[in-house]
């Protein structure tokens, strides 16, 4: 039944293409209904499978000549990610209600992207996972190139090439693993249990990990992210930062770390104080956290602030993955969920509520516009989103960052300070952006006659409320997710990881 999320999205995309030209309203409604249908399926499955154990959705032979199966399955981690995708799908469509040019093509590409993302999270066969992972690239390209804003064609191409290079690296690793294991099967569980030689794992792990981590925005491969996010239209930015970057992190966890757990072990020699790939990636993640935060602090363009903030928050996730203890890993998955929601919300405010109305993203120009008085809903939404992304208790970010902090403290105590530093800078840049964008600095309360901007529409309000509500729900009831994520780490899939470097 969960596979329906994929099929419905693809069918919705096909249906949209068949609509007559210029049918804007019908396209929106069809897209929204499709997204809601997908989310309902996800939610139903979530409610049915509260214990977080792995359950198979479909498993049929696909290409027996190569031992490839069409194997869809889900555990707690997948369910969390699928819920996130569903929510972002719905809210992304709500925030794109104002697109009137080539509307049905926009939503068709959007649904295609959503369907492929569902597919990645549900795949338990490596070939199938890779197929869905690659399918993501093309609709992403078109969404940005056609409906984007600043330097959209350049941004789209950069994004596509970076993603493709990353996935090529993953493909090399996958093909090598498949061949070395006897060219018999591409099933994730079987290959995870295959005893690859230490030498092989030491080479394959960084290759596949970096391949996925490029999409996750690991420093220094993150440079596509700010350009791409700024160039993309709102819904695409929400998807990109909210979900697609999480695909990379998910791939790191689900594929790289399970197939080649020995690759995380010590090399036996030291280079600049680093003794294993784990140390290297942890360091890169920490650099990403701090670099992203510091660069966000000095940006003049509102959307760039959020873009770099995404890079910083993804650093948290990758660092959490490298802690290799249960609390850090759980925190990383929870942060995937939390940041997905909040990044989506912030891009929605910046892109849809502010930019679509004011046609500028320069903080210096936005400030004097006194937006707090004209579109207070946008200001309040951004304030709440900012608080949440800072890690304020009561929202989803608090628990995620707390767990990652504790996990980091146990594995890399020195980095815990950097994480704390990153959190503090996070507070500062969000605060700065918020004050500069929404609150005029002169403190003038009675404003001169302002150019009137269109009020915040109902779909925007709905979208904002859904996202805020979701973040509060995760913040107040984190155990709902912790209860399904933690058992997932006890499954046989992560056995190699547990035996190797668990703490």
């Amino acid at each position: 039944m969960l596979a329906g999320t994929i099929y419905i999205s693809f069918l919705g995309a096909a249906g949209l293409l068949l609509l007559p030209k210029g049918s804007v309203a019908a396209a929106r409604i069809l897209a929204l209904l499709t997204a809601i249908a997908g989310f309902s399926l996800a939610l139903t499955s979530f409610v049915h499978h509260r214990s977080g154990e792995l359950f198979t959705v479909t498993r049929v032979p696909w290409i027996p000549t190569l031992g490839i199966e069409y194997h869809l399955a889900a555990d707690g981690i997948s369910l969390t990610m699928i819920l996130l995708t569903g929510i972002i799908a719905i809210t992304g469509i709500l925030f794109s209600w104002n697109i009137v040019e080539r509307t049905k093509e926009f939503f068709a590409f959007y649904l295609l992207l959503i369907g492929a993302v569902y597919g990645v999270f549900l795949s338990y066969d490596l070939f199938l996972l890779f197929v869905f992972y690659e399918i993501v690239i093309i609709p992403k390209y078109f969404l940005i190139a056609i409906w984007g804003s600043t330097r959209r064609e350049y941004g789209a191409m950069k994004l596509a090439i970076y993603s493709f290079v990353g996935s090529t690296m993953v493909l090399i690793g996958l093909i090598a693993a498949y061949v070395v294991a006897g060219s018999k099967t591409t099933s994730l569980v079987d290959l995870a249990q295959y005893p690859f030689s230490l030498h092989f794992q030491m080479l394959a792990f960084p290759l596949v990990f970096v391949g996925f981590a490029i999409l996750a925005g690991l420093w220094p491969f993150h440079t596509w992210a700010p350009t791409g996010h700024v160039a993309a239209p709102t819904a695409a930015s929400m998807l990109l930062a909210g979900v697609v970057m999480k695909l990379g992190a998910y791939g790191c966890l689900r594929v790289a770390m399970t197939l080649f757990p020995l690759g995380l072990g010590p090399w036996g020699f030291h280079v600049l104080g680093l003794a294993s790939w784990r140390d290297v990636f942890a360091l890169l993640a920490v650099i990403g956290i701090i670099y992203g935060a510091l660069v966000a602090l000095v940006q003049k363009d509102f959307k760039f602030v959020i873009g770099y903030s995404s890079v910083s928050h993804m650093g948290f996730i990758l660092l959490g993955l490298m802690t290799l203890n249960q609390i850090g890993l759980t925190g990383a998955v929870l942060q995937m969920l939390s940041h997905g929601l909040l990044a989506g919300l912030m891009f929605a405010v910046v892109g849809r509520m502010v930019y679509a109305r004011t046609h500028t993203r320069e903080l210096a120009i936005l400030g004097p516009m006194n937006l707090w008085n004209i579109i207070p809903f946008a200001a309040v939404t951004f304030i709440i989103a900012g608080m949440a992304s800072m890690g304020l208790p009561g929202f989803s970010g608090f628990w995620a960052e707390l767990m990652i902090l504790i996990g980091v403290w146990r594995s890399y105590p020195a980095y815990a300070l950097c994480v704390g530093f990153g959190i503090i800078i996070g507070v500062v840049y969000i605060w700065r952006a918020m004050l500069k964008a929404f609150f005029a600095e002169t403190g003038v309360k009675l404003t001169p006659p302002q150019p009137s901007l269109p009020p915040i529409t109902l779909p925007e309000r709905l979208g904002a409320i859904i996202l805020i509500g979701a973040s509060i729900f995760v913040g107040v009831c984190p155990q709902v997710f912790q209860n399904i994520i933690i058992p997932a780490f006890n499954s046989p899939l992560f056995e190699g990881l547990r035996k190797g470097s668990w703490q």
Binding site: W62, L66, I135, Y141, F142, E153, M157, T168, I175
Partner: protein, 498 residues
């Protein structure tokens, strides 16, 4: 002297006979009956007849398959060869259908005749393991292709390209023949298995080395591998669309198949390895170098192209590089992968050329700027073009992706336990990533760029739209369920004693 049973020969060669007969029939019909009609009508009728003939040949192959080996490889029929011949005939039909609405020549009958003769040549080419027959069929194919390339008499560049093709081709044919004669000298036989038995030895005879190199030259020319590729960009650009489609698809399939046969059957003992660390002399390193060079040059130069046809030519060079990897691996699995890859590649290429023929005809040239925003004018056309381009780029779930995946898996798994050819795979995948750039640029023009204010209208003819949909559907289906095709190839290979 063994006696030849002519009746058996005729039965075996019946598909080819049908094709030739169709050719003559078309010629006759055109010369005698249709002289007064419009070119379009003549093309339509001729194409229809030709397609029927090819279909008939397919039916013959399908329903009365024979397995035989006449005179030690002069003419062979087995399931694998039948499969390849069927593919060739299908591709011919598709290429001919492109010509249905064209007006580039008055000599309709001659055109179709030449295509069919070339097809017959290809069918003989794949159905033999004898050097002489290989050469004759190859020449039959090549000569027809030279003329087909020159068919647009109104364009000076067209016959310049064809002249280049002819001169180049003649040279490489000479090299090939020279190599063949050396092989004959070394083994006293023109049959591939016997040659292999004869040249088997601990070290490489210098004459054998020369034979390897010249054979590689000759066949490398046919498949447009670097450094024998110089004819390809011009021919792809200037030949009339149906000819170019035909050259790019069917002839590729046949050439690669026979390339594989010659190298693995004929030079079986002299293979050598192309492992990165320890190179063993033989034909494998030679081909590996050719493959690497083709992948590099094809992809890198394609980035700079502004004409879609030329871009496709360089991309063809790049794909030839990938396909050569299958020959470098020389296992049964890699033959399966090669056949799958080259057939799906040919389907996508025919489709691309069909689109090009429509756009050229109606906007004047195939320059990439003419493709700006045509998704608005001709959505079906654009969608099919997108499918073909993405398949060439290797994006799942299209056939091109699975072809690449399967190819690379078999190449890497060729020597179990070792990662000899990993460097080639890495190079191939890296270049594949580069290729996404120029393929996406095409789609950018089609989907993203705004329509020019003075853009001419595009009305693709019904037959072309139908053809495009069939091809696109084939590419998608073969991508989503490759097993459909794979199982046929696998059983065919297994039941043919190679």
């Amino acid at each position: 002297m063994t006696t030849i049973n002519y009746a058996q020969l005729l039965r075996l060669a019946l598909p080819e006979v049908i094709v030739v007969a169709t050719a003559l029939l078309v010629m006759a019909t055109d010369l005698l009956v249709l002289r007064r009609c419009q070119t379009r009508v003549r093309f339509a009728v001729a194409a229809g007849l030709a397609s029927l003939g090819c279909a008939g040949a397919i039916v013959r192959i399908f329903f009365a398959p024979e397995v035989a080996n006449i005179l030690d490889g002069i003419l062979i029929a087995n399931p694998l060869i039948h499969l390849v011949q069927t593919a060739l005939l299908l591709l011919t039909i598709f290429a001919i259908l492109i010509s249905v609405d064209s007006t580039f020549t008055e000599h309709v009958g001659e055109f179709i005749l030449l295509i069919l003769i070339a097809t017959a040549g290809m069918m003989f080419l794949v159905g033999t393991q004898d050097l002489l027959v290989i050469f004759i069929s190859l020449e039959l194919l090549s000569l027809s292709l030279y003329i087909l390339a020159a068919f647009n008499k109104r364009s000076a560049q067209s016959w310049e390209a064809a002249l280049k093709y002819f001169l180049f081709g003649g040279m490489s044919a000479a090299f090939l023949l020279f190599g063949f004669s050396l092989l004959y000298g070394l083994s006293n036989s023109t049959s591939l298995p016997q040659i292999a038995a004869a040249i088997h030895g601990p070290s490489l005879n210098p004459l054998l080395v020369i034979a390897i190199v010249t054979t590689a030259i000759g066949l490398g020319f046919k498949v447009a591998a670097v450094p024998f590729h110089f004819w390809a960009p011009d021919v792809y650009q200037e030949a009339p669309a149906p000819s170019a489609a035909f050259i790019a698809s069917g002839s590729k399939v046949a050439s690669f198949f026979i390339f594989f046969q010659i190298m693995t059957l004929g030079f079986a003992g002299a293979a050598g390895t192309a492992a990165f660390t320890h190179l063993v002399r033989g034909w494998v390193p030679v081909l590996a170098l050719m493959a690497a060079a083709s992948m590099l040059l094809g992809n890198l130069v394609a980035i700079a192209q502004t004409s879609l046809r030329r871009l496709l030519a360089y991309s063809a060079i790049a794909h030839a590089g990938y396909m050569l990897l299958a020959i470098v691996a020389h296992t049964q699995q890699s033959l399966t992968a090669l056949i799958y890859y080259v057939v799906t590649y040919a389907l996508a290429t025919v489709g691309a050329f069909a689109v090009i023929s429509v756009v050229e005809e109606q906007t004047g040239s195939d320059d990439l700027s003419n493709f700006n925003g045509i998704c608005r004018q001709a959505p079906v056309l654009s969608f099919c073009l997108a499918i073909f381009i993405l398949s060439l780029a290797g994006i799942p779930p299209l056939a091109g992706f699975f072809g690449k995946f399967f190819l690379f898996v078999t190449v890497l798994g060729a020597a179990p336990g070792s990662m000899n050819l990993l460097w080639l795979i890495v190079l191939a995948l890296a270049m594949s990533a580069v290729s996404l750039y120029y393929y996406l640029r095409i789609l950018k023009r089609v989907y993203v760029a705004p329509l020019a204010a003075d853009a001419k209208e595009i009305h693709p003819p019904i037959i072309t739209q139908f053809l495009l949909l069939v091809l696109a559907a084939a590419v998608v289906v073969l991508g989503c369920d490759p097993q459909l095709f794979l199982q046929h190839i696998t059983t065919a290979i297994q039941s043919s004693i190679l």
